[in-house]
């Protein structure tokens, strides 16, 4: 078990840096995790993060990359629902990396 400290508060993470308690998540924590991943958060990043949070809220799972890509395309348009765009925002994968920043567990089936 590891911890991170953000704005004077301590949060538990697993050994890969995913939040242990999903309810711990807030925008400051997201910004902090993004920084450790060398991701500069922009409006486009937040769009994906917020989408992931909504998806998880509804289905209680983190979507597989393929499913996320398709669903983003449906909601935000085809220019965003493709791998180039999503990997451009999150180089280590819209599943793995974006889920970590969104405070979700690693997607099922993501190695």
């Amino acid at each position: 078990m590891s911890t991170i400290e953000v704005a004077g508060k301590t949060y538990e993470t697993d050994e890969e840096g995913y939040l242990v308690n999903l309810s711990d998540w807030n925008k400051d924590v997201a910004e902090y995790i993004a920084k450790t991943e060398n991701v500069e958060m922009t409006e486009q990043h937040w769009e994906v993060i917020n989408f992931l949070r909504e998806y998880f809220e509804e289905y209680q799972i983190a979507p597989a990359v393929r499913v996320l890509t398709k669903a983003i395309g449906k909601k935000l348009g085809a220019d965003k629902g493709n791998s180039e765009y999503l990997y451009g925002l999150f180089p280590y994968g819209p599943g793995k990396q974006a889920c970590k920043i969104a405070g979700l567990p690693k997607p099922t089936g993501c190695v």
Partner: protein
């Protein structure tokens, strides 16, 4: 494509009492990545996995039932419930949280026979 096989997941256990239902769901979600022809079957107490209105706060366990509604997004759209199992539990299609095809036991047996791989949970 000739390398697409028919996979069937047979779910016969109620949720929460044992880990089978959740394990099956996780394997199904992973299998979806391999673009196979996947069917899910709910027999016996497995029908209870799809019951609407599950509230797990009181038993401090994750409610994984909303994930069945995500299956469509994973292109898993073949969900079958055995009529006899459903009726023996006082349930009807309106009690289920996803759209399913209800089959009698004979049709279910035939469908099973047509599969290349059957995984039982």
């Amino acid at each position: 494509m000739s390398d697409v096989k028919k996979f069937m997941f047979v779910n016969r256990k109620a949720p929460y009492g044992t880990i089978y239902a959740l394990e099956s769901l996780e394997v199904v979600l992973i299998t979806a990545a391999f673009d196979q022809d996947v069917s899910l079957v709910f027999l016996d107490d497995g029908v209870y996995q799809l019951k609407k209105g599950q509230q797990t706060k009181g038993i401090e366990t994750k409610n994984f039932s909303p994930a069945y509604r995500a299956l469509e997004g994973y292109d898993i759209e073949k969900l079958y419930v055995e009529k006899e199992s459903m009726e023996a539990r006082g349930l009807s299609e309106e009690d289920l949280l996803v759209d399913v095809t209800v089959l009698g036991r004979a049709e279910m047996g035939e469908l099973m026979d047509q599969q290349d791989v059957v995984l039982s949970f």
